[in-house]
Symmetry: C2
Subunit: 450 residues, 2 copies
């Protein structure tokens, strides 16, 4: 994956190399802003970022391709021996974070720090985007189970696996994705599609066939022809299962007015003494629909949520960027760096994020400060890599999931409203504000901008 990079990383590095410029530099990876339909982010992607940094090298086939692109031999020679040797600080995966907070901070010789930019952004972007969306869905479900169903609509194979990983982190109970189950140990779920029903001569025959193969774990999809008629047939087969000592697990509804249908189906099942059969709903769901269904009294026990969650349909990216914040000066001390582009100003210097909680452990506010500044609150960034080696116990996926759910429970409810939530307060420390002011003045003078 070392070649999964933007060409400009390599051209910049070739020029740094050309000019024998490879001093230490620090880059911050952070999200520029909150879109209108998000109030927080769930940070995810650190594990893949660290594994990438640990492993990145350039092989001879890659070097040969770069040679054809016109890169010079001495730079290619440097690349052929390339290893990442830097120091990395990061926020643990599953942490709830906000705009402008450094999520990953890389200090390394500029060429190393620069060349890894594209991959770091790519993996944090997709994972944080989906973990954030999934967290909203889980929160909206108020304790009802969510299963991730999005593989068919995720953006390719990697996104398919990452969507399962990140929605599980966010609190989903499992996925339909078998490869993700195998790779990450995520519980996998799934029973039948409409094609299974159609392949048999009658709907009820399909139910019977499936129940014979999976007597203990069947879910019948009941809306192929008509949901309530389908439920009647499911009830017949459930009764047949009872006689054999088994219980139908659930019925699934995938179309129509889920409030009305679920209530009818629940009544029908209860009337037949099948109150243990759960109702599972799917079909174009997201946090808004889940909230609406529950508020309107839908009788749904669990949700299968796919496309809209797994592509983060209403906002399929976060504005994640990676910006130079300091560089080694000629006197051997780091000097802060920032840009002044219109609407895209960045915070200079090596920074830390402090989180202030109330007595009950609820989040009150965050402060972005200089790394060594004395600030109240709990620091969020921890050292995860030193001299290119991971110096951090990568938590299990279950542990990351616990972190995400605990963070969510500590974020006051008002900041978790799906619509029109107030902004969680994120302040800049006095030291950081002073540095921004000073550097702005110096840059304007140096670049003759006044």
């Amino acid at each position: 994956m070392s070649m999964l990079t933007d060409l400009y990383e390599l051209t910049m590095c070739a020029s740094y190399f050309d000019h024998k410029r490879n001093e230490l530099a620090t880059f911050d990876l952070f999200i520029r802003r909150l879109p209108s339909n998000r109030t927080y982010f769930v940070f995810a992607g650190l594990e893949q970022a660290l594994i990438f940094l640990k492993k990145i090298t350039f092989n001879s086939e890659q070097i040969a391709y770069l040679r054809k692109q016109g890169f010079k031999e001495n730079f290619l020679d440097y690349l052929s021996k390339f290893r990442f040797s830097g120091e990395v600080w990061a926020v643990p995966e599953g942490t709830i974070v906000f705009p402008n907070e450094p999520l990953l901070r890389v200090t390394a010789p500029i060429i190393e720090a620069q060349i890894v930019e594209s991959f770091l952004l790519n993996t944090v972007n997709v994972q944080t985007t989906i973990a954030t969306k999934a967290s909203r869905v889980v929160d909206a479900a108020k304790g009802k189970s969510i299963i991730e169903f999005g593989l068919r609509r995720t953006h390719g194979t990697d996104a398919g696996i990452k969507a399962a990983r990140c929605s599980y982190i966010a609190g989903c109970d499992g996925t339909s994705n078998v490869l993700a189950g195998m790779k990450y140990g995520i519980p996998v779920f799934g029973t039948m599609a409409h094609s299974f029903i159609l392949f048999f001569d009658r709907e009820i025959e399909a139910f019977r066939a499936f129940a014979k193969t999976f007597p203990k774990t069947s879910t019948f999809l009941i809306d192929t022809f008509n949901d309530v008629k389908g439920a009647e047939k499911a009830a017949i087969v459930a009764k047949e299962l009872e006689k054999k000592g088994f219980r139908l697990n659930s019925v699934r509804i995938d179309s129509g007015d889920l409030v009305e249908i679920s209530r009818k189906v629940r009544a029908l099942l209860d009337e037949k003494g099948l109150n243990y059969v759960k109702i599972f709903a799917s079909g174009d769901l997201d946090e808004y629909k889940v909230e609406e269904l529950l508020s309107k009294g839908a009788k749904i026990d669990a949700f299968g949520v796919g496309t809209r969650m797994s592509t983060s349909e209403d906002r399929p990216y976060v504005d994640v960027i990676y910006k130079l914040s300091e560089k080694m000066g000629k006197n051997g001390e780091f000097v802060p760096a920032m840009k002044l582009s219109q609407g895209k100003i960045t915070f200079p210097g090596r920074k830390q994020v402090f989180r202030i909680k109330d007595k009950k452990g609820k989040f009150v506010k965050d402060i972005i400060a200089l790394h060594d500044e004395k600030v109240e609150g709990e620091p969020l960034l921890v050292k995860v890599m030193e001299k290119g080696k991971i110096v951090y116990n990568l938590p299990t996926l279950k542990k990351i999931r616990e972190t995400a759910l605990e963070n969510l429970s500590r974020l006051p409810e008002k900041y978790r409203m799906l619509r029109n939530a107030p902004l969680y307060p994120v302040e800049q420390s006095p030291g950081l504000r002073k540095m921004v002011d000073k550097l702005t003045r110096e840059l304007k003078k140096a670049e003759h901008l006044d």
Copy 2:
């Protein structure tokens, strides 16, 4: 990638296997509907679909995982010898297509046809989604060059590569993505980020350093501090390059009001005799912004388009589905299948799509018909796989790109408006309509729905 599947494919197949049901069946892969912000789709993903079908097997590690999930030994034994042996018809990549038209048609023993569903949907979804979005951007640019810049915001590694592939198919001139360049031979572009400017003590020093390394191909990013002041410095270095016999390629603007800034920068460059220096613009662009910039008279020669195109931001998926359309009956003849779910009715039978063109070769309308029905127009589906072998010359990426651009030129302009375009007419043939009516009546009777 054989395990990149939804669990329900495997549970259904286990039940088919259990009941010794593995008759031939046909599935159609098609897109259910046009979202309000699309008027056509550019089909992409066939090459990856066919390679998957050719290669799919299950290895012992995968079998071991499935055993732990409770699948029975005789089914696992079947899977361990699994190969896809079916027949596939498809529309060539780059073809413009519309809702309900079969894009890929699989006829195979039901277990084989079912088990490949998730991957086929996944790869066609991401590639068609991005090719379609990119086609709109290319069309809006009216001949100006578009370079795909989205790697950092695409959904993971596979999407990064596929976004480059599909935007190139749609008519973009290249990508920033080095791996996609290496893998697919797509031209790669890129020069510098803001960090390069900040790493040097002065903006002009950064320009000089870069020009020294790349005297023939430099693009200077001029908005780190102030775009017009940056252009002045770029002009100074361009003049220095001229003295050495080189020409600055372009300047890039990445923020602010691109109409106003590009006009100022163009005037400044022209005044200095640098009319050959091109202006390259980037930053949150999409088809709507590109159209707006050009209509307002922006002086932009080429666009770098990333996030919004490469994630298909306003619609990050297509409603692509895979539905059983016929199955082998007991008498050895295929019988049509369809579902009646609310709002999700499918078309039964083995089908072909016919496209009718006018004398100038412009598209007039499409007709979805039964495969053997006599219908005017040119059939779109061609046979691409027989008995599990690819029987189709996979076109080069350049050829696919030509197909896409030719298709776009043949689609009348009214259907290509970015907003409020009329619907392109897609009809059902008399034979298909008759089959739908007959089957609906039969199903309602058989399932007691009246």
